[in-house]
């Protein structure tokens, strides 16, 4: 993988310090320490229910946390997060791709991509369309711009969702199991688009079950077990010689087939 490593010396774009989250009596995230540098691709793996999705959803405030320090792109998110200027700014600078795509079904593909740049960034319609067309071309769906999401395949929808997030020119991209809802034959096209993005130096935080992809693209792999980071390191290390026995048993289960 020829990929620019993060430039040392620059401030981390995500800084989590002893972040804790509870759902009632359930302790979902336990003392999470995580730092992501600009340009870095970090892949989070772990069993379902381990808290990996919750972790990245805390970063753009879709989930609130109860204790700890969380800073994204220089803005601090406070525990028990209410709507705030900092949260608004973070969401503007952080893009997200969801497992279920979450495209807006009542809008055309083009309008899905142009909505936020026009309403949030205040771009003119012309500028927004120009950017949208460029991005749709890049993810290989420029010929579908006038269609509605329901007329596209799952793989195409997820690529539109990627273009929609990129249209805001984010500093960080979050991916929440982006291929888990896709038919097997469509997973490749979405991973390809993500691979391209990684090559261009986008900072990415990815929750996925695609271990081959993780090994290939990640600068760093994080393993989460029951809300705790139990292993962290370069992909070769985590996949080939995991130190933690939880990681070992998880990998032996997912890599078997």
């Amino acid at each position: 993988m020829t990929h620019e490593k993060s430039t040392s010396g620059s401030d981390p774009i995500v800084r989590m310090d002893k972040v804790n989250k509870h759902f009632g009596s359930l302790h979902v995230l336990k003392d999470i320490d995580l730092s992501v540098s600009p340009g870095e691709v970090v892949v989070i793996i772990g069993a379902s229910g381990s808290g990996k999705s919750t972790l990245i959803r805390c970063i753009n405030g879709l989930e609130e946390f109860q204790q700890g320090y969380l800073e994204v792109d220089g803005s601090q998110l406070v525990p028990h997060g209410k709507a705030s200027a900092a949260l608004q700014k973070i969401r503007t600078e952080v893009g997200m791709v969801f497992q279920q795509f979450n495209l807006f079904p009542h809008l055309s593909v083009l309008d899905n991509v142009t909505l936020a740049p026009m309403k949030v960034r205040g771009w003119s319609r012309e500028d927004a369309i120009e950017t949208a067309e460029r991005l749709l071309e890049r993810v290989g769906i420029s010929d579908q711009a006038a269609k509605h999401p329901g007329q596209l395949s799952g793989g195409q929808q997820q690529r539109v969702a990627l273009a929609r997030a990129l249209a805001m020119e984010p500093r960080l991209m979050l991916f929440d199991e982006p291929t888990s809802a896709l038919d097997p034959e469509m997973i490749g096209e979405v991973l390809d688009a993500m691979r391209e993005l990684a090559k261009e130096g986008m900072t990415m935080l990815i929750v996925t079950h695609e271990m081959g992809f993780a090994r290939e693209v990640a600068d760093r792999v994080i393993f989460i077990h029951k809300g705790e980071i139990t292993e962290e390191g370069p992909p070769e290390e985590v996949f080939d010689s995991p130190r933690n026995e939880r990681t070992q048993s998880f990998l032996s289960r997912v890599l078997k087939h």
Partner: protein, 223 residues
């Protein structure tokens, strides 16, 4: 039974010009009331969803009260009861429109609530994650989809309210039923005239159904 009665078609048709004079009132009360009811429904439907108790509780109270009492009692209360409070009479037409407004408003509140809550959580999350404010997310993403889903129920409520206006003959508004009663008082052709009244209601409601079906069909394109 000795069936000597003959249905008098001529008398039936003869009543139509007189009955038709009631239609503008029926339509004015129905659609005037429904238009206000729709605004009430949006407001209280959204308050009903609020997590803040002091917004939610008044909305719940309004909905339960006006959904749980007969529209006939509501109009009698407004027309005969309220003047005692206000110290002056209320125009029967205004009372009718007000009754339909508060009554349909209660039902439409629930339709709005159901429509908005039926939109998947991911839609809101996608909007917020793009940096849209909560207000923008509602306006550009949630509401357009919710409204589309509400159309069939709104149509249903429209038809119910149109028929409810027939009760307002009791306060003397010259709507369809009232016109029929006045006509029958001089001709005694109850069978023929009430059949015509029924057919005129049917003509109105079928037209509304047709228009709504067209709207729905257009709304579904590209979903």
């Amino acid at each position: 039974m000795d069936v000597t009665f003959q249905f008098d078609w001529q008398a039936a048709f003869a009543s139509i010009p007189f009955l038709i004079k009631g239609i503008p009132y029926t339509l004015l009360i129905s659609f005037g009331g429904l238009a206000i009811g729709f605004l009430i429904g949006i407001l209280f439907g959204l308050l009903r969803i609020s997590r803040l108790a002091w917004l939610k509780i008044p909305a719940v109270a309004y909905i339960e009260i006006f959904r749980g009492t007969p529209v006939l009692v509501q109009v009698l209360f407004i027309f005969y009861g309220l003047p005692q409070l206000l110290g002056g009479p209320i125009n029967a037409l205004v009372a009718g429109i007000a009754a339909i407004a508060v009554n349909s408003g209660a039902y439409i509140s629930e339709i709005v609530r159901g429509g908005v809550q039926s939109i998947e959580r991911g839609q809101r999350e996608a909007g917020l994650s793009l940096g849209l404010s909560r207000r923008q997310t509602f306006r550009y993403i949630i509401w357009p989809q919710a409204f589309r889903r509400m159309i069939p129920s709104l149509g249903n409520q429209g038809i119910i309210s149109i028929k409810d206006t027939s009760l307002f003959s009791v306060i003397g508004v010259g709507e369809l039923v009232r016109q029929g009663q006045v006509y029958i008082a001089t001709t005694f052709n109850a069978l023929e005239v009430y059949l015509m009244v029924a057919l005129l209601y049917l003509a109105i409601t079928l037209t509304l159904s047709f228009v709504l079906r067209q709207l729905e069909r257009r709304g579904l394109v590209g979903q």
